[in-house]
């Protein structure tokens, strides 16, 4: 099993999974390109995974509330979009990005409801965007799917890659 940590969160992948921490020092272009936390090759597709953890211990309550408001109002969407897009460009220029990509964002706020997650998932799909222009859909969309989760929703839908909080 491969285990990665990001701040106070931990994600586990089955042994043999080709998973990389993407936004570490080896990225080398953080001054001009944004980056998701992890890139995972699961054979038939790549997963771009981004963690956001405003519930982390030590985060002041007002910062947490501020982040929640920004998230629900869609003010984080742009950052999420650029992280995905820049990661794609980086991977494409590196000669990878040769399989469909799914982009998953995990917002570690327990109180997010399914309705909140559904609304932000729809907004992310629109912002990436998943499809090309209305009259000429892309034949090679660079992201084939995306979704926003909290930890509980992630662990319900992605049992192979459980996420937990480091106690």
């Amino acid at each position: 099993m491969t285990v990665f940590t990001e701040g106070n969160l931990r994600i586990s992948f089955p042994s043999g999974t080709n998973a990389r921490i993407f936004d570490d020092a080896s990225h080398g272009l953080s001054h001009c390109m944004k980056a998701v936390d992890f890139v995972v090759d699961i054979g038939h597709q790549y997963l771009f995974i981004e963690f956001k953890d405003p519930d982390a211990p030590g985060v002041p309550e007002n910062r947490r509330e501020e982040y929640l408001k920004d998230f629900l109002a869609g003010r984080i969407d742009k950052d999420l979009k650029y992280k995905c897009r820049d990661t794609f460009l980086y991977e494409w220029a590196s000669g990878r990005a040769d399989k469909p990509i799914n982009y998953y964002v995990i917002i570690a706020i327990d109180t997010l409801t399914p309705a909140d997650l559904l609304v932000r998932t729809d907004a992310l799909k629109k912002n990436i965007p998943l499809r090309g222009p209305r009259n000429a859909g892309w034949t090679r969309p660079f992201v084939s799917g995306c979704a926003v989760f909290n930890i509980a929703a992630w662990n319900k839908h992605q049992r192979r890659y459980p996420v937990s909080r480091i106690q």
Partner: protein, 339 residues
């Protein structure tokens, strides 16, 4: 003095149910057929008789309008003979009605506690799902003179709306509420020959030409302006979201919270997530909200669980609908790109 408790025994959808009420906002959620409107009608009838002095059983019969006006039909349906009962409390005061399922007239029902209950009048208004102000002209006289098949809540809401404005300047709280509403509807409501109009810079617009959302806010403006909704009043609102653009829910919920702050006890039944969420996001520490979740248990009996926080509502029929949608959305994404 606000309503404190409701009790039902073999009454319409209920086998046996007790609800402890909040003096602030009581939100009722639950699937269709769990009795949300029924319990609000009972509570409303109990409030209304304090003003009209009508017999409680007679008022219940008028607001429920059972077939043939047989009050016995309000008893929970059972193959054997049974007795239905409902009781409403204001602290130590209690009014109770009970009747056999074979009872045909309200006079054969037994009402207890009515004299003491009537000694302390309570102002109330029930806003039904169907908007009525645009149907106002002629309706009241028709209702008074003919046997038309309308539950009395429809005539009652018009009676309230036709009341003339309160004399004298509005106090600070009422003025603020009226200004909020005027801003939202961009005008004031006036009545001419029983017809409701929105008066603004463009002139007088008849209610039949207005969007239903504006009509609803206009109704609230009227009820606040004429003193129906004041400190100590009780507001019952059945599905305020009906025919309203969700963008207006925020303004509506803010007014509901402000009414509660002004001392109005509120009962609201809703199927809408945005209504719940707007209340949750806009509430402040001083607001009192109780969420009553009605549901059928494994035996098909209606039960109720109370929560004071949005996230503690359980079961939450509205959130469950979103949960199902979210799961299907994620499953579709997980499926995309699969081999």
């Amino acid at each position: 003095m606000s309503l404190t408790k409701l009790e039902f025994e073999r009454f319409t959808a209920f086998d046996k149910l007790t609800l402890e009420l909040s003096p602030g906002i009581n939100v009722f959620i639950g699937a269709n057929g769990t009795g949300k409107t029924h319990l609000m009608k009972v509570a409303y009838a109990a409030c209304d008789v304090t003003k009209t002095k009508m017999n409680f059983a007679e008022k219940l019969n008028r607001v429920f309008l059972p077939s043939g006006r047989s009050i016995g039909r309000l008893a929970k349906r059972n193959k054997v003979s049974t007795t239905g009962a409902a009781a409403v409390y204001r602290d130590d005061l209690k009014i109770r009605v009970s009747f056999s399922n074979r009872a045909e007239t309200p006079e054969s029902a037994k009402v207890t506690g009515q004299p003491d209950w009537l000694a302390k009048p309570i102002e109330s208004v029930f806003i039904p799902v169907k908007e009525m102000l645009s149907n106002g002209p002629g309706f009241r006289s028709l209702y008074a003179q003919r046997e038309i098949h309308f539950e009395e809540i429809y005539a009652d809401i018009l009676d309230r709306a036709y009341r003339p404005p309160l004399r004298g300047p509005a106090d600070k709280g009422r003025k603020k509420l009226l200004e909020q509403l005027q801003k939202a509807i961009d005008g004031k409501v006036i009545v001419s020959n029983e017809e409701f109009f929105l008066k603004n810079k463009q002139g007088n617009l008849e209610f039949t030409l207005l969007a239903e959302g504006i009509r609803k806010l206009g109704l609230l403006w009227t009820l606040i302006q004429n003193g129906t909704l004041l400190d100590g009043s009780v507001l019952f609102w059945d599905e305020p979201e009906t025919n309203l653009n969700p963008k207006m829910f925020g303004a509506l919920m803010q007014i509901m919270l402000d009414l509660q702050s002004a001392g109005v006890q509120i009962f609201v039944a809703t199927h809408d997530y945005v209504v719940l969420k707007e209340l949750d996001l806009r509430r402040e520490n001083h607001h009192e909200i109780a969420y009553h979740s009605l549901f059928h248990d494994d035996h098909g009996v209606v039960q109720c669980k109370r929560a004071s926080q949005f996230l503690d509502i359980d079961p939450n029929a509205i959130a469950q609908a979103f949960s199902d949608l979210y799961d299907r959305e994620v499953n579709r994404t997980l499926g995309s790109g699969a081999q």
